[in-house]
């Protein structure tokens, strides 16, 4: 169903820490942004999962104005089927609980007057990025988010379609098995999901911190005198220490970034190899925004040293032209929720 006559849409971005809310205007603007703490198991340890889910539904419903025929777009940070509104699991919100939850049905039961459109947060970010004018003639766009978790989505711009599998899912690359090396030797770390060797175990925000710990263990003397070791020993947070060390061209920080971007490059290289219609790969997320041009430089280093067979030799700029690192706000899940709601959601 389309929200064709609607001019303002209430949008939410539900994350593990905050629920962001705004009003999305058809011209593409976000207004009246606000933020509230998420009803998560960490914030409300005494609450059951059912109570947390009820709190979420109550908060979302109460934040929608009582106007005629309200339309709402929700970007939800969890594995879900946007066709049905079924949320499979959300570890940040509900811990290890993995019973599917029919979010759309719960919202509709409380506010039957509202048209609810629910999409995954990566899908929402992709919808916003893909709406940029300079991407209108692309065949396909892949968006990968590198933050506390890792995931990607591909949209076919010609049909405005995000294909999904039988479960309504696509692009859960964070839990693909990958090969990683550190200080010249292979390394295997556990992912937050408990399994070893996943991409997120090395390349997500927490994964990079674990790789840094492993590097300190493997290279203690170099670590102690590096631009990472000295500040973190003095109490500086790891994320800001890494950025400053990279800004100062610290060798060990550069090696760490090379190590954690190598498996990301491998997955993207494979995607580009298997789907020649991918005209752009867009990178977003807290890790990418925090490290900025350093992240792209490290990633492109891998892809330059080992690109696509024959293509990279015959067209050296082919990969260079296809990898974009966004800044904050360029792939905004809140705006994507508005796009999804105004168009009736991705096909």
């Amino acid at each position: 169903m389309s929200g064709g006559s609607v001019t303002a849409i209430t949008v939410f971005d539900v994350g593990g820490t905050h629920v962001r809310r705004a009003t999305w205007l058809r011209q593409g603007q976000l207004r009246d942004r606000s933020s509230r703490p998420s009803p998560s198991f960490k914030r409300f340890p005494a609450a059951t999962v059912a109570e947390l889910q009820d709190m979420m539904v109550r908060e979302l419903c109460e934040a929608v104005p009582r106007t005629p025929e309200p339309v709402v777009g929700i970007s939800f940070g969890a594995a879900l089927d946007h066709r049905t509104g079924l949320v499979y699991a959300s570890a940040p919100l509900w811990g290890e609980h993995s019973e599917p939850y029919d979010l759309r049905a719960a919202l509709t039961a409380r506010r039957g007057d509202v048209r609810w459109h629910i999409v995954n947060d990566v899908t929402a970010a992709l919808l916003h990025a893909a709406a940029a004018t300079d991407r209108s003639r692309h065949r396909k766009v892949l968006l990968a988010t590198i933050s506390s978790g890792i995931a990607c989505r591909v949209i076919d711009q010609r049909q405005r379609r995000i294909p999904v599998d039988g479960c309504g899912l696509q692009g859960e690359i964070g839990h693909l098995p990958v090969h990683a090396e550190l200080a010249g030797r292979p390394i295997e770390l556990d992912c937050d999901c408990g399994k070893p060797g996943h991409l997120a175990a090395y390349a997500s925000g927490p994964g990079i911190a674990r790789m840094a710990d492993a590097l300190a263990g493997r290279e203690p003397a170099r670590w102690a005198v590096s631009g990472l070791g000295r500040p973190t020993a003095d109490g500086t947070g790891f994320e800001s220490a890494l950025r400053r060390a990279l800004d100062a061209s610290d060798d060990l920080a550069g090696e760490l970034l090379d190590a954690v971007t190598a498996p990301v490059a491998a997955v993207l290289r494979t995607a580009l190899c298997l789907d020649p219609e991918l005209d752009e790969v867009v990178l977003t997320g807290g890790v990418v925004h925090g490290l900025g041009h350093h992240y792209r430089r490290a990633l492109m280093g891998h892809l330059t040293r080992q690109g696509l067979y024959l293509t990279s030799e015959r067209s050296p700029d082919w990969l260079e032209q296809r990898i974009t690192v966004t800044g904050p706000g360029e792939a905004d899940s809140l705006a994507g929720a508005g796009i999804a709601a105004s168009a009736g959601g991705p096909a």
Binding site: D32, S34, P39, K42, R43, A46, E51, M55, A63, R66
Partner: protein, 389 residues
């Protein structure tokens, strides 16, 4: 990582989830509601409001004149630390520490306390990591008398304005506006500008003038609308007006006599505001040039009016942390100078009724008397540390 929590008898739902009372904006008015109390995530701070004030901007929000979306408003007051998430600096971790939260972040628009983030008019307020990380939670070494806490943030803003105006060494200060800011400004003027400065308070209603007459401040001349002739020394004008009243106050200030003129556009401006005497001057940009205590030295715009007078224009958004600390110290040192401005002190239930009444009518009369500053007191709940597993 230990997390400090209250172990006092917080109200809880039947299921055992801690809850707190909050003054929530809803269609038709303000209601006192029970809300679940979150534990702070990494970098966040949970605080218990002791006293919170209601300001003119808050009343505009209650009346639907602004789009700020936070259901719980309030950005003035004193709170105490209840619980700190991992990574919060030690100076803020001790339960019971009295704090003031600077409502304005200089560079992160996602944090504007009581505007787009739930504010202090509730028993528990979660301060986001961006505000904690960037030093917007200011611990107080000394607390002013109970209800004077509601005046810390507005007095800090007044001190900011007076610091800007002091750069021109004025011998006359003309304050336009009979509300809290105007009244604070004339009381604080001599502390900041020196005993020799002449201070005038320009009212725009007879009721405001009558209120001031009953609470005369030594050395302050009160007028209704007009200003008597001024001497040749430098003059400063502080426009402590509601947003819609600022253009008229600016027009009056530009026609003041006296010597060199410096004007602080304290009260904000309606969109697109301009003055015919100052063609081409972007007044909103003038006001936005100073924010939260930055830059130092302060920003001024010098312009020539169409009738040939050179004026220095300035303004500011928010306050710096040091302004808050200095305002708290001033209220400790001179409590009696400011006490009469807190005209109404109520608990949360009565506050809900008053805020609902204010949301539906244009007046400022509450319980039969003129409202200057409403202070809402929340029952103190002394927290005790509790080690979390």
């Amino acid at each position: 990582m230990s997390t400090a929590r209250t172990s006092t008898a917080d109200p809880t739902t039947a299921a055992g989830i801690p809850t707190h009372r909050a003054l929530v904006r809803e269609p038709g008015g303000v209601r006192l509601r029970l809300r679940p109390t979150p534990q702070p995530a990494p970098g966040e701070l949970l605080v218990a409001t002791q006293v919170a004030g209601l300001c003119g901007t808050d009343i505009q929000m209650l009346r639907g004149l602004r789009d700020d979306p936070a259901p719980v408003i309030g950005h003035e007051g004193i709170a105490r630390v209840v619980a700190a998430g991992p990574g919060v600096p030690d100076a803020l971790r001790r339960p019971g520490t009295p704090v003031v939260v600077n409502p304005t972040h200089a560079s992160d628009p996602s944090f504007l306390l009581g505007h787009n983030v739930d504010g202090l008019l509730q028993e528990r307020t979660l301060v986001p990591a961006t505000a904690v990380r960037d030093g917007l939670v200011v611990p107080l070494e000394r607390e002013p008398d109970a209800v004077l806490g509601a005046l810390i943030e507005p007095l800090a803003a007044v001190r900011y304005a007076l610091a800007l105006l002091a750069t021109s060494r004025p011998r006359t200060l003309v304050v336009y506006g009979e509300g809290t800011i105007g009244q604070l400004a004339v009381r604080a003027a001599r502390h900041r500008l020196g005993d020799g400065v002449r201070v005038l308070l320009v009212h725009h209603t007879p009721a405001g003038l009558a209120w001031s007459a009953r609470r005369a401040v030594s050395g302050v001349e009160s007028t209704l609308g007009s200003v008597p002739p001024l001497g040749p020394e430098p003059v400063a004008a502080l426009l402590a007006t509601p947003r819609d009243g600022t253009p008229d106050a600016l027009a009056a200030a530009l026609r003041l006599g006296g010597g060199e003129l410096t004007v602080d556009l304290f009260g904000g401006l309606p969109p697109g505001a301009a003055d015919p005497l100052l063609p081409g001057v972007d007044l909103s940009a003038v006001r936005a040039a100073n924010c939260a205590g930055q830059p130092v030295p302060y920003a001024f715009t010098t312009a020539d009016t169409t009738d040939g007078r050179r004026v220095r224009l300035t303004g500011h958004r928010g306050v710096g942390n040091h302004h808050l600390a200095e305002a708290a110290a001033e209220l400790c040192r001179y409590p009696d100078t400011y006490r009469d401005l807190v005209t109404h002190v109520v608990g949360p239930s009565e506050a809900a009724r008053i805020m609902t009444d204010l949301s539906t009518g244009p007046g400022r009369t509450v319980a039969g008397s003129r409202l200057v500053k409403l202070a809402v007191r929340f029952a103190p709940a002394p927290p005790e540390p509790l080690e979390s597993p």
